[in-house]
Symmetry: C2
Subunit: 178 residues, 2 copies
DNA sequence: CACCGAAGTTAGTGGCCAATCACTAATGAT
DNA sequence: ATCATTAGTGATTGGCCACTAACTTCGGTG
């Protein structure tokens, strides 16, 4: 397998480990085991553990932006927002991505590099949503806030509740001005 | 100083350390230094590092509930919600409490005890807000979502932006049905 | 004054984990 | 066939950190 393919495999594995345990508690050993590769080899593919973490964040945001792009294709305004919201709540079946967001913010509290990246990617997401929906600032903030709440509830792993919460949140998104 | 007084001093210090670094990265050494006490003595006051973390969570929620109680005193409905929202955004000057929430959710992703406690305290907060405001479920969810967004922006430490974000968020809270 | 319990310390241990180093196996171009 | 590059491993290490054990200090009380 080529180094580039391996690197992507590492990011997929890292997303799960970091998402579950957070930056500090996740071990390069566990990531390597998940990839099916020896632990020292990770340091051939990436310069450090933190580099893997930062790359995982980028990986998650890249996929999320593609997902939003696809969901909103051919739609505008509230229709686009609704589609993106529904698509986002579909991530409840893809916990690692949601959990990575929490872990990113958690790490951003004390790490400058993480904070800088988190700001940049959040701003990018914000702009993408604005571009695809054309909604005003307040509306987008409401949309983002709903997403945050969904992240949190996913982290609490509320078994049945989360599903209906997804609907309720999307209801929140659907009808901004009841 | 009595053991009980020390214990509370430890919780105040732990809130800062855990809030900044997260559960795994924070060290009992740093907490002890902040309290002005030797590190092994922490293990006389608490059985384990995790016990300190769990107690810090309780400490933060206890204070938050007192804060909401005080803010909403004599008010009902939207007025109470607005008062609590304003009070919450006042925590922007008290980062540790906001950051502890993020760290709690982050740790809840993989730790059963933390998750159980987080669920219980979040549910309690939810009910308190419902009791004090009398708002319906959807309205409260909107209120909570705004709070989550504020937590996140606090973690990103957006210098000037956060303040006006506070206002905008509270505007979101103020006028639910624009 | 003796002593007892509670507050607090110094010194140490065992385990874990990121990162390094020196090495081997396969692949492919000439 | 040879040689160079690329993929990959095993063994190790140095530092950190939660937690333990054994000792010290001191204010109050019979």
């Amino acid at each position: 397998m080529s180094a580039d393919e391996r690197r992507e495999a590492v990011l997929r594995a890292a997303r799960v480990e970091f998402g579950q345990l957070g930056y500090a508690a996740a071990t390069t050993e566990a990531i390597a085991r998940r990839v099916g590769v020896s632990q020292p080899y990770l340091f051939r593919l990436f310069p450090s553990k933190k580099a893997i973490f930062l790359a995982s964040i980028d990986y998650c945001f890249d996929r999320l932006e593609l997902r939003f792009e696809a969901a909103a294709e051919g739609l505008t305004g509230e229709d686009a927002l609704t589609a993106m919201g529904t698509s986002y709540s579909g991530l409840l079946d893809d916990r690692p991505t949601l959990q990575m967001q929490l872990q990113m913010w958690s790490a951003a509290c004390h790490d400058d590099e993480v904070r800088t990246l988190a700001r940049r990617r959040m701003a990018g997401l914000w702009q993408q949503i604005a571009r695809l929906s054309g909604a005003d600032e307040k509306r987008i903030m409401q949309f983002m806030a709903s997403g945050m709440l969904l992240n949190v509830f996913a982290s609490l792993d509320l078994p049945r509740i989360t599903e209906q919460l997804g609907e309720t949140l999307m209801g929140l998104v659907d009808r901004p001005t009841t």
